[in-house]
Subunit: 244 residues, 2 copies
């Protein structure tokens, strides 16, 4: 019995790896969050597709496990990479009682990388990836990580910068980072990566406080060495870069 | 005039996105580090391929720029993602004097994600990516980042954990992290991701001090919540996970 957890990349068939496509093609059933199932529906005509609404992650995993137990080869899909805030972790947890099901994770392109490509080259040096969602993590923990990352001059990539209930979290995060970094640092916003209405914008850390974002937005904040070149964010690979 | 910087993913055609393949197919010339050019040589019979040895990154960029200036569509390839310690940043820097050349970065799967998939689900919560190479970054800066990441309980992914000249850097990094984290934390090592001799190993932070690594190794260190499930590293998505 085999259960795959597959990263679809940022959206759109051209960002799904041949490995992921091969796995999805060989599966009897593909399960996932409704929005992602809808994105790939036309790629798999006739395939059994199971979708569940947002926030029902554990239910989604149980659905996939039931299918596997009944003898089907199943793929559970995530957008981006299956591991980065994706379904891989909760799948391992949920399938704990079913050692007879073999689990394999298939990597995809995560938003830090697909968003980074649109913004230029912000991730050419050390970076921290932080989710601003406090659904499962206390805000104090998120704040401590923002502080640590800013203080140590990491490039910072923010996932889940806002939701309906958390409209001011990006402003709060920016304020925290500005305790240690200049408000003039280059920053970038990417929306709806890999979809028709994909857009990106290069701005500054200070300006992030005023920019509306949603759950389909990824935010990038440069380190002290990040510059703007051709309107894009470019982080040098090191601190002695100029001398080489 | 168009110059692409393309991430090949971890190695092997099945991890190259259709988008990246389409770009490489349309290019007149593909340039890159010898090892990566050799990996894709058979995928592009008849294509003009230019390879340069390691450490000649700027020369490689200049080579690609010359080709673009002479009217060719050029792709410069990186392994993994083109942005994460890849060639995208140095390309933007080197091409500064040539605004007539349009640059586009094409994302690929970075080792944090491909390695993470092999190790289970280590990146399901906030993580820091740190390179242990001190060729362009002072060791003090690397040490400060290791400390900050460990103190704030990030999952930590280490790139370039060693080279011929830096055989003890992983041991030093592990010692630094152990000032703040337990030596019992789950840790993982992935070697030669996506190649024939790919291998992975789950171990502990303390044990990392004794494990030999090279430049084709990626190292993952869990956070305080990371567990071993089925011999794999699994980081829960949050700190209130058990209660949901």
């Amino acid at each position: 019995m085999k259960l795959f957890v597959v990263g679809l990349g940022p959206g759109g068939a051209e960002q799904i790896t041949p490995r992921a496509m091969a796995v999805l093609n060989q599966c009897d059933v593909i399960a996932g969050y409704t929005v992602y199932i809808d994105l790939i529906r036309e790629l798999f005509p006739g395939k059994r597709l199971l979708d569940t609404p947002m926030k029902q992650e554990e239910k989604r995993c149980r659905l996939a496990i039931e299918e596997a137990l009944s003898g089907n080869t199943v793929a559970l899909v995530s957008s981006g990479d299956a591991g980065v805030y994706g379904m891989a972790g909760i799948m391992y947890e949920t399938a704990r009682e079913f050692p007879e099901i073999e689990i394999e994770v298939v990597a995809g392109i995560t938003a830090a990388c697909s968003g980074g490509a649109l913004l230029g080259a912000p991730l050419s040096h050390d970076f921290a990836v932080i989710s601003l969602s406090d659904l499962l993590t206390p805000w104090e923990k998120i704040e401590a990580r923002l502080q640590a990352a800013a203080q140590a001059d990491f490039v910072i990539c923010l996932y889940n910068p806002a939701s309906k209930k958390r409209s001011d979290y990006l402003a709060r995060a920016s304020e925290i980072i500005m305790r240690f970094q200049s408000g003039d640092l280059p920053a970038g916003i990417v929306r709806n990566i890999g979809r028709e209405d994909e857009s990106w914008q290069v701005t500054t850390l200070a300006a992030l406080r005023e920019i509306p974002v949603d759950m389909f937005t990824t935010v990038m904040i440069g380190n002290s060495q990040t510059r703007i070149i051709r309107g894009k964010m470019v982080t040098p690979r090191g601190y002695r870069y100029e001398e080489t």
